[in-house]
Symmetry: C2
Subunit: 238 residues, 2 copies
Amino acid sequence: MTGDGKSGAAGVDPEQLWLRPTAHRRGRRPSFSREAITAAAVALADAEGLEAVTMRRVAAEVGAGVMSLYSYAPDKDTLLELMVDHVSGELPVADAPSGDWRADLRTIAHLQRAHMLRHPWLPAALSTHRVPGPNTLAFLEHALAVLRPTGLDGAAKLEVFAQLTAFVAGHVAHEIAQGAASRSPDRAAAEARYLATVAADGQHPELAEALAAPGRPLSPEATFTRFLDRLLDGLAAG
Amino acid sequence: MTGDGKSGAAGVDPEQLWLRPTAHRRGRRPSFSREAITAAAVALADAEGLEAVTMRRVAAEVGAGVMSLYSYAPDKDTLLELMVDHVSGELPVADAPSGDWRADLRTIAHLQRAHMLRHPWLPAALSTHRVPGPNTLAFLEHALAVLRPTGLDGAAKLEVFAQLTAFVAGHVAHEIAQGAASRSPDRAAAEARYLATVAADGQHPELAEALAAPGRPLSPEATFTRFLDRLLDGLAAG
DNA sequence: TCTATTCTCGTACGAGGTACGAGAATAGAG
DNA sequence: CTCTATTCTCGTACCTCGTACGAGAATAGA
């Protein structure tokens, strides 16, 4: 369950997860690998959504028995954690900070957006607290370097990064929902009819007007850029 | 599980859900009510988190048989929808827009934050697309009225509201995660140890410095206000 | 070769969502 | 009042899911 709420007790021990030795010493040789299992899970999530990622499906995809997965990850929640860090490895980190932290942050945000659009399950997966794995940490390291010219203290820099990521995730989640809605015309039509009915009831004049005068539709990308720039403008002042 | 086989929520027909007649005509008199069932589910989620909300638990809480719930909501997803709109009824809408849309928006954001802290499952529940019910629409109507002085077109106003809500949800989710972490000292300590180990590996100088010089810790409320003001500053310019 | 170790995976259990359909309650028709 | 159509109640059952258990297989070192 990816459900949030007060279930903070459920969690993964980061030391056990990311710092455990990976070498093989004695005993039977492993038939699979964390990498392969994680990659299969990611492929499944990309293709069919997070809810298609079940231990049985992943095992079948890898050619393993279901319970064999538990030699590589102690539970499904951990597998999700592995998936998140796995795809974070796609984020390029090579280019050094330019010194213009606003431009660099903008670049980072656009990278994250593209990344999340490529893996639409990411916003949902990020909504619960995750301990950063090596790939995530590499990206974080880069973001902190970018923020160096701001002169913010450590906690503030971490906070800025967290907020930026949350902003991007929120936007992309919205973007995906819109896209999904327009991809099922019946649902979209039903929703439009419903809103029209509500707008016509006289109790919602502002909504009626907003729906009547929608303005020219902006591309999701344009909207994203607009809000991002506003947020960065604001950060510049703070 | 949604019948269309595609990923994502968007499985509820809004007309069937929000516009269906509520009057009782013929046949056996209902023993329960949508209200009571929804309220029980909300109470459960508030007390024990979203994952405690199962059809069996809710039914037990109400004193009904499990399958009786399905006379009031066609499936669990719909029940979640009802829960979201139910708690939206707590949001005060009475006060008219002051004409200062920035101040009004700030008030709205703070209301939403308090609301989500009161119902910590809300950010997660909002992360999937929801069709606004009557209470949500009343609040939206108010927000649109507040945004009237901006002169934005309909789509833009809706977009601003969505972004603001997403921002608040993202922040509160983070806030809750932090709070949950500090409420389980073992986890927090393990995570701190892990990050310290990573920071000491020489590969993450920026992280090491950020952790070494954290600065004075800000209250979550202060951080929220700071970022919110920045976002509003930005919106003012756009 | 023997043994300790490590991995594989069939079986099984409990929890969760919900389809089915029999029974119970009720309003209106006669 | 009786009959019937309607509407709600809910026990039973099925399927999917995560995962505990433990027996068997493979392997490295003694």
